[in-house]
């Protein structure tokens, strides 16, 4: 069957199970759009190509499948860069398809020509230019495999306009992937495995560091078996949240820069850290010289390049988290860690009195109140998509996720503007789920044009803006480390409720704590998108905080307590 390259692309995407494409048309991708119109694929018109990549990323994170974004050449492609990098840093399987000028004029600085494969080389898992129609089907199939296998990541396929227009024989069987063969490393080094088992069975104060890899590998069940077998307390990375129920007594909560104090203290006191699908990011470890000095370390990780990168480990088990955990669990014989778990529980007492929820009502509305109420009202069952900054950390602290893939957030790159478009992608992946955007007034203003996409697609998302009139996290750093010189952090915003109305979306503004629960209830009852502008305390900070580069033991705690330490310059 002869098809044009553009038709081959649409047919291939359909055969790969793609239902939605997030994109923006333009000259160099027009043949594909023409073919899209004749296909069963649903195209979501975004308002900026960065939004398309975040939507595809959100789709991938919520579904576990591959998200697809599309843009034209030149500025369409370069607008995707931030979204691609976001997906790269969080190992999210996204396939980006860009139009490219005709191969006959490649390299001539033609109108809207840009070397997008050159630009995205360091921020994609792989990228490729296709200039022949007959190569499109195979290349797209390869792109899906690369994006979703091993440690996932974004793949960009740049297709020249003449390849889209040319006709070629379409034969799905004949266009099977032809990826270069790889050396098969024996993943399970027996000596490392034996050492890991010895460490597991001799530890007195073991602690699991649970990361995103558990979700990616679909290892939730194997992980729970492992935790139960050894009766191990579990600390979560930001992206690990949801891989193990927050309601489980063994789940301690989030670690790191804004981790709970008892979690960080437990890490510092542990004699064995079992890191699963996490990469010892600097936001997790703080100063490496003082990090978990008394602990031996086991690292279960699919990416060999992560082994001993930041933290030297005693046993490295390279492989898929589920496979490794399933192999390890039967060897666990020691599970009496009661004294250690009781000790960690004791560490919590001090934190509880500092908790904003425990402080008397001063008539002020705190972000933590909003998120705590949101958690209670949604019974912890919503998918929450957060942006980057203070609200992101408060969400991680106060919204207790029990299920995987229910917290969608930009961790590694920390991309402001991620939340709103990512939530649109999430909604397409999980149309029946309750999706909440939790976003700051700064990040929201970066990508709020996607409100129009929500309206055009008639989707139902709830948007909670945590509006403190500042770029809050930067302001917090200025408060702690720059003597409260608030340079460029006070932020003027439009009346978000009125703005929502202008888009045809219901908008609410909340200033008192007593109004929080009623507005959340009313929003949940609505079958349409609702935007709520929560005017929260302007100069609240996220506690505890480990300053950048400081020891995990040196946490800045919430003031008004005699135990609070003074901030130190990072």
């Amino acid at each position: 069957m002869k098809l044009t390259g553009a038709e081959i692309l649409c047919e291939s995407l359909t055969r790969l199970g793609v239902k939605e494409i997030f994109g923006y048309p333009g000259g160099a991708i027009l043949p594909v759009y023409d073919a899209l119109g004749k296909s069963k694929l649903h195209h979501i018109l975004v308002r900026h190509e960065q939004g398309a990549t975040h939507m595809a990323d959100g789709y991938a994170r919520a579904s576990g499948g591959v998200g697809v974004a599309m843009a034209t050449s030149g500025p369409g492609a370069t607008n995707m860069v931030t979204g691609i990098a976001t997906a790269m840093l969080d190992s999210s399987p996204v396939v980006c398809i860009t139009g490219q000028v005709s191969s006959k004029v490649l390299g001539s600085d033609a109108f809207q020509e840009i070397d997008i494969t050159g630009i995205t080389m360091p921020i994609t898992k792989h990228n490729v230019v296709v200039s022949r129609a007959e190569d499109i089907a195979r290349t797209i199939r390869e792109a899906f495999i690369i994006a979703s296998s091993g440690r996932p990541g974004p793949v960009l396929v740049d297709i020249t306009k003449d390849a889209q227009q040319a006709s070629a024989e379409f034969d799905w069987e004949a266009s099977a992937p032809q990826l270069p063969p790889k050396r098969q490393r024996s993943n399970h080094d027996q000596a490392e495995f034996v050492r890991a088992v010895e460490l597991l069975n001799s530890a007195k104060r073991p602690l699991i560091l649970a990361g995103h890899g558990i979700m990616v590998s679909g290892a939730m069940h194997a992980f729970e078996q492992f935790v139960r077998a050894g009766n191990y307390p579990v600390a979560m990375t930001l992206l690990g949240i949801g891989c193990f129920p927050a309601s489980d007594p063994l789940n301690l909560g989030m670690m790191g820069m804004h981790g709970e104090a008892w979690v960080n203290n437990a890490i510092q006191e542990a004699d064995l850290l079992i890191a699963v699908g996490m990469r010892f990011d600097d936001r997790v470890t703080g100063d490496l010289r003082t990090y978990a000095k008394s602990a031996r370390k086991i690292h279960i990780e699919i990416d060999r390049a992560e082994i001993n990168k930041n933290v030297k480990v005693d046993a490295a088990l390279v492989g898929d988290a589920r496979e490794v955990l399933e192999k390890l669990t039967p060897h666990i014989v020691t599970r009496d860690h009661g004294a250690w778990i009781r000790h960690i529980a004791g560490l919590k007492g001090d934190s509880a009195v500092r908790d904003i929820q425990s402080l008397p009502d001063t008539g002020h509305l705190y972000a933590a109140h909003v998120i705590n109420d949101l958690w209670k009202e949604t019974h912890g069952e919503a998918i929450v998509v957060t942006d980057v900054g203070q609200h992101q950390m408060w969400e991680a602290q106060y919204y207790h996720h029990n299920r995987p893939r229910t917290l969608i957030t930009s961790g590694g790159l920390g991309t402001m503007g991620f939340a709103l478009p990512a939530a649109i992608g999430v909604k397409f992946a999980k149309p029946d789920a309750e999706v909440w955007v939790v976003v700051g007034d700064g990040g929201f203003q970066m990508t709020m044009s996607e409100l129009a996409t929500i309206v055009q697609e008639k989707i139902n998302i709830k948007i909670a803006i945590i509006n403190n009139g500042f770029l809050g996290m930067v302001r917090q750093w200025q408060e702690f480390f720059y003597d409260k010189r608030y340079v460029a952090t006070p932020l003027v915003a439009p009346d978000f409720a009125a703005l929502a109305n202008a888009f045809g979306i219901r908008g609410e503004r909340i200033t008192k704590r007593a109004e929080v629960v009623p507005v959340i209830r009313s929003a949940r009852e609505s079958t349409e998108t609702v935007l709520i502008d929560f005017r929260v305390e302007q100069e609240d900070s996220v506690y505890p905080m480990v300053a950048a580069g400081a020891s995990l033991s040196d946490m800045i705690r919430r003031p008004d307590s005699p135990l609070v330490e003074t901030a130190t310059e990072p």
Binding site: V66, F144, G150, R151, P181
Partner: protein, 179 residues
């Protein structure tokens, strides 16, 4: 200094991916050679990098993550045969020419071009040998020099072969959203 050997796809852009990776990891490359192998689909690289064992591990593991790299291996510390080729144009007049020829003989180098005022000397071997020759030639006046960069091979039965098997069948159905 660490030495890595890599088998890569013999196609455009692969060298860029490899060098871009080293740049991203902030690893300075001392020399990088690339050439075809007995299998025309595969090229072989020898990468000599200014880094320590930890950096070499990261480079090796990161290289193998590239789709176009079939195998990468840090061969530092193994029994290695290393070769570098240099062409050195040195000024030579009637007076010092005999002395030059003597040195060239000692270093098992050879003269490949003779002109009234200069010679081109070809020398191959270990890096130290070429550095040594260069040192003794310097007083004569080195006019120009080109070096190939190092190529390395592990000795004897320590074989480093590129994987050539077809991709596993599970890949054919992987990557689909139809799970």
């Amino acid at each position: 200094m660490q030495t890595l050997v890599a088998y890569v796809e013999n196609k455009p852009g692969v060298l860029n991916r490899v060098s871009s990776l080293a740049r991203r990891l902030a690893i300075n490359i001392d020399s990088l050679t690339v050439g075809p192998t007995e299998n025309e689909a595969i090229a072989r690289m020898t990468i000599v990098a200014h880094t320590d064992e930890k950096g070499a591990h990261r480079l090796e593991a990161s290289l193998e993550k590239l789709v176009d790299v079939r195998l990468a291996e840090n061969v530092s510390g193994r029994a290695l045969l290393e070769r570098d080729l240099a062409l050195i144009k040195v000024s030579a007049d009637q007076q010092n020419r005999p002395h030059l020829m003597e040195l060239i003989k000692v270093f098992r180098a050879r003269v490949v071009d003779v002109a009234p005022e200069s010679l081109i000397i070809e020398v191959s071997g270990a890096v130290e040998k070429i550095d040594g020759l260069l040192e003794v030639l310097r007083p004569f006046g080195v006019l120009e020099m080109a070096r190939s960069g190092r190529i390395s091979m592990t000795r004897g039965g320590d074989l480093l072969r590129p994987p050539v098997s077809a991709p596993s069948s599970e890949l054919a159905s992987a990557g689909s959203n139809l799970k």
